[in-house]
Symmetry: C2
Amino acid sequence: MRIAVVAPSCTLKRDAAEAVQAIVDERGDCELIIHPQCFLTDGHFAGPDEARLSALREVMADSSVDAVWFARGGYGSNRIAEAALASLPEAARAKLYIGYSDAGFLLAGMHKAGLAVAWGPMPQDVARDGGDAAIRRALDWLVKRDAAALEPELAGPAMAFNLTVLSNLLGTSLEPDFTGVELLIEEVSEHLYAIDRSMFHLTATPALRRTRSPCARCPCPWPRSPPW
Amino acid sequence: MRIAVVAPSCTLKRDAAEAVQAIVDERGDCELIIHPQCFLTDGHFAGPDEARLSALREVMADSSVDAVWFARGGYGSNRIAEAALASLPEAARAKLYIGYSDAGFLLAGMHKAGLAVAWGPMPQDVARDGGDAAIRRALDWLVKRDAAALEPELAGPAMAFNLTVLSNLLGTSLEPDFTGVELLIEEVSEHLYAIDRSMFHLTATPALRRTRSPCARCPCPWPRSPPW
């Protein structure tokens, strides 16, 4: 099992890469190929659009790679997603793609294109509280398809997005088919008025009414003040 | 010329209301009816949804009112827009509606419903630098349809939205027909990465390609740091 790491959004920190490599070495059941592009910096992107796209296309087309692990979120994968999915090589269809947050743009488009995707922890998460366990969970799924790594309350196909990513991909070429999908919202630090506004957009969008778990409007108790 | 002021989003400040009233008194060419709902507070809304909707429906249905002036932006008009536009009374079609910013949700839906709308300064703007002149410009248009009050560089039908409002109304029942419309973006204080993300959404949305002035992708030089 060879797992390639690329960074379509923001730069992977060196110490996070080393910590994940150490976990992989200790397990001994897989090989990690961290693409050098992960450490590029251009503004707050992991290199310019061309470099991020090129690294992603490279690992997608590499038939020796079994899985592509997105290094971290932030912002930027939407800028290269459509080009990444154009004229897909056959090897791109024979692997699993995993990530979340800003990588949701790519995962959505990949799902729409018929590729196998999973929502799960990313290498940079090793630096978070509980990050070690999260990385091991992601690897358990990547290497062994261990069902214990899955969210236990899900009973069928699911997708997970933060509100901003989901709101901004609606109506674009990346919008996946939500029919019958359980939709999870991962949100950690938005103003409640902004959450309410995004929920307005989501609940007013016909495509999202085909999910198995329709969104509910927020009650909006305003514990945080808006910036204006 | 009777102009009703209601607040579908945030609360109008008393001193702003007084300053606008003083300008109107000095002109002597119109009458201002500031609805008491403008001064309600519920969280940061100008009263609960029901109160904001009720005041708006009241002035829309009032055949003695020639124009409805939205008091200020902020957030909240989207929560009542669809209900405000249901089963429109005939009197609602015989008046002009004016505002911008968060009121863009209403203006968009009203334009779609065939009502006469204008994008222009709102009463709370009197408190800004240059606010006095802005209020006089809005009144010149409301009372006299004075062409000198219009943006001089526009050569045809136009709409103006901030990116967040525009992004969040795409695909909803409020989305207007953009065919042949010159689209102005009014944006004052977003992180550049967020502007880029919204521009991605806008430029990737087929409905917006029917404007007379297609959007261009942002170059994204990142002068402000993202919050993460």
